[in-house]
């Protein structure tokens, strides 16, 4: 055994890789049991391990590199029952020595966890919550975001629509707080990229059970009447819970496309992407899981790979060392989207291109050409440094 270890160290020296002692890095993932609900379309399987499988792929990728650098990565997953307190779980894992956590939780829960005494010496990654407040006013120094914000998604779509010169928008807003927040992000994007919201209407119709015989008559009639408005270029729908947006497509009074949360969408990841080496990445994931990678899986993968990349370069598992490297100028992550991803040092948001997709193909990638920025064109998506009030991040 000893000779094996000595052999390994000699090999590492020969390899020009510093002979760090074997380093074990455990990353926690805390998520919540999904609420049972029928998906809108029977073509889409119910995903019960959203985020978890992405994290697992990240761990596999990190460990392949780790084989050569003497680092091993492990995932510790905790799934909270509906109503269970996330703080207890974070404390438990902290007690086991974990200091790196991925969180697939809501914004209030994220803040509660980030403010725990145990979280002071930890680094947390938000892999799902899109709330702009977490990136603008309610930032936390120990909370980084690999999931894009609503503003980033709205801006990515807004830039593409500006390129198309589809600048007269018909905004349809659902009843949930998330729908309202996404609509607010779209209004902001309209102002930034020279579009005009010519009509805005709240959606109040309850579509009801999707499987009823002849149920489509309802939606066909309702959507047709609902969309009899003044002329516009594209209908943008804010329906984050995916209950009605899809019903508007092909049913509008005028022959106009639908985008936003359904139809043409801006997303950090989609099964349709095959560029920049994504083919292999997607195939690896599908072979392991039998399904496509979702945006939350992708955000989890980004978090694990960010930790892996920082640990490889700094030879450390210390959260403060990793954080400093991640927010510093030398961190660049190959994220299968053509340009490196990196963290904004003013609010901990991962800057990344967003894909503009229809359900079956990649339509475009934002930022669009011509939208300029003094530092990085990626910072034309979402809230920029001067717009945030995070202070000493």
């Amino acid at each position: 055994m000893r000779s094996l270890i000595v052999g390994a160290i000699v090999l590492m020296i020969a390899a020009g890789v510093p002979a760090a002692a074997e380093l074990e890095i455990s990353i926690g993932l805390i998520d919540r049991e999904p609420q049972a609900r029928l998906p809108l379309s029977s073509l889409e399987p119910v995903i019960v391990d959203d985020g978890l499988e992405g994290a697992r792929q990240g761990i596999r990728d990190n460990n392949t590199t780790g084989r050569f650098t003497g680092q091993t990565f492990a995932l510790v997953h905790r799934r909270l029952a509906i109503g269970a307190d996330a703080a207890l779980t974070l404390r438990e894992l902290h007690g086991q020595g974990l200091r790196l956590f991925m969180l697939n939780l809501t914004a209030p829960e994220l803040l509660a966890l980030a403010d725990l005494p145990e979280a002071r010496d930890s680094l947390l990654f938000n892999i799902a919550a899109p709330d702009d407040s977490l990136r603008v006013s309610d930032c936390r120094a120990n909370l980084l975001h690999t999931a894009p914000s609503r503003a980033m998604r709205a801006d990515a779509l807004g830039q593409y629509l500006a390129w198309k010169r589809w600048t007269r928008w018909f905004l349809v807003v659902g009843p949930h707080p998330g729908d309202q927040a996404y609509a607010a992000a779209l209004r902001r994007a309209a102002k930034r990229f020279g579009a005009k919201i010519v009509v805005e209407k709240p959606w109040t119709f309850e579509a009801g059970a999707a499987r009823t015989d002849s149920g489509h008559f309802n939606e066909q009639q309702e959507a047709n009447t609902f969309t009899q408005v003044a002329d516009y270029d594209i209908l943008l729908v804010a329906d984050e819970s995916d209950t009605f947006g899809e019903y508007l497509n092909y049913r509008t009074f005028l022959a106009r496309p639908v985008g936003g949360t359904q139809g043409l969408t801006a997303t950090p990841w989609s099964g349709v992407s095959e560029q920049w080496g994504a083919t292999q990445f997607q195939r690896r994931f599908r072979e392991q899981t039998g399904r496509f990678m979702t945006p939350v899986d992708y955000a989890a993968w980004l978090a694990v790979r960010s930790v892996g990349e920082a640990a490889t370069r700094t030879r450390s598992a210390d959260p403060s060392v990793l954080r400093a490297f991640l927010l510093g100028p030398d961190f660049r992550l190959a994220a299968f989207k053509g340009v490196p991803a990196s963290f904004r040092d003013w609010n901990g948001q991962l800057r990344q291109p967003l894909l503009i997709v229809s359900p079956r193909v990649l339509v475009s990638v934002s930022p669009q050409e011509g939208f300029l920025h003094q530092f990085s064109t990626l910072d034309t998506l979402g809230y920029d440094r001067p717009e945030t009030t995070c202070g000493q991040f």
Binding site: L11, A14, A15, G16, V17, D61, T64, T65, F68, T69, G277, T279, Q280, R283, R284, E309, T312, R332, L333, A334, V339, P340, S376, T377, L378
Partner: protein, 328 residues
């Protein structure tokens, strides 16, 4: 003779304002370009730059390499999961070689019999016997193996892995990984110097080139690139070629649409040459007077005059040109 040739050229350029062919017929040669999107190999006369033929091959041809006898071309048809062998006399695919899934880049060993292929999908380098037409070995490497460089002395194969961010030194005698050198993000191409003493590795997302000492496996220098008016993200080094005399290296910088010219003695960038969009791979003419570049987004090939270090002409080829090879 050389002097005379030079004069003819200058006179012709001055009078006609176009680039005429140089007269020496003896060193005629052919350029082959793989077009990833069109599934073709474009055959270009190296002197006149006329397109002589466009050959349909299997789906998504990327890495291409010349056989040792220079009579056939090995084509990684990535989506067909094998290598096609194109006979250069008849321009017909005569047979295929097994390669493992999704072959992307390949390198021929110095004996001309063994072909080393990177399989992006299964973290392997496959060793293929081109005469026996069979797989003879598989070597486990990092995630998404990509770049393949064989040292001219036949001792080393350097493979890069895109997600692991390493250059793996494979001892060709034992076919074992002997050393791993950490480089910057998404390493794409590994190219040895003619004396086999250094290997140069381009990092597409890292935006630089690591120069590694083949004996000590230490990085001698990491060369970075700065082009006024261009953002850091757009500088994405991929293809590398080093001149036969070992004095100059050329690096294709992808979306930056430039080829960097590097002095190998000082390891400093001498000059940036503006070429087509998303410049990917490079190859010299046999006389080392010209350098050909594949420009993926502008669907063309730039021709660089190496004596003057100027881009002389752009030749439209198939869509998404990827690999380029020159044969006498």
């Amino acid at each position: 003779m050389k002097q005379k040739q030079h004069k003819t050229w200058s006179a012709a350029t001055a009078v006609l304002g176009v680039w005429l062919l140089t007269p020496a017929a003896a060193d005629a040669y052919t350029v082959y370009v793989s077009s990833e999107k069109d599934n073709t190999i474009t055959v270009v006369d190296g002197e006149t730059l006329d397109i002589k033929a466009t050959v349909k091959v299997g789906p998504r041809p990327r890495g291409i390499a010349l056989s040792k006898d220079q009579k056939s071309l090995y084509v990684c048809t990535s989506d067909a999961d094998h290598i096609e062998v194109l006979d250069l006399a008849t321009l017909k695919v005569t047979h295929t070689l097994p390669s493992g899934p999704d072959p992307e880049l390949l390198a021929l060993g110095p004996d001309g019999r063994l072909l080393y292929v990177a399989n992006e999908d299964d973290n392997m380098v496959t060793v293929v016997d081109v005469e026996g037409r069979s797989k003879v070995a598989e070597i486990q490497v990092g995630v998404e193996p990509e770049g393949m460089g064989v040292s001219p002395d036949g001792k080393w194969l350097v493979n890069t892995s895109e997600t692991t961010n390493m250059a793996h030194f494979i001892d060709l005698a034992t076919r074992e990984v002997a050393a791993n050198v950490l480089v910057d993000q998404r390493p794409r191409v590994a190219q040895f110097t003619p004396d086999s003493k250094q290997v140069w590795v381009s990092s597409e997302i890292g935006g630089n080139v690591s120069v590694i000492d083949a004996a000590t496996k230490e990085k001698i220098k990491v060369i970075s690139f700065e082009i006024p008016g261009l953002r850091r993200e757009s500088i994405q080094p991929v293809g590398i070629r080093i001149s036969d005399d070992g004095k100059r290296a050329f690096v294709a910088l992808g979306p930056a649409a430039r080829v960097a010219v590097i002095d190998t003695a000082t390891l400093e960038v001498e000059k940036y040459l503006l070429v087509g969009q998303r410049v990917w791979n490079l190859e010299f003419s046999p006389d080392q007077q010209r350098l050909f570049t594949t420009n993926g987004v502008s669907n063309d090939m730039s021709v660089i005059d190496l004596e003057r270090l100027k881009v002389r002409k752009t030749v439209p080829v198939g869509r998404l040109p990827w690999g380029v090879v020159v044969a006498p």
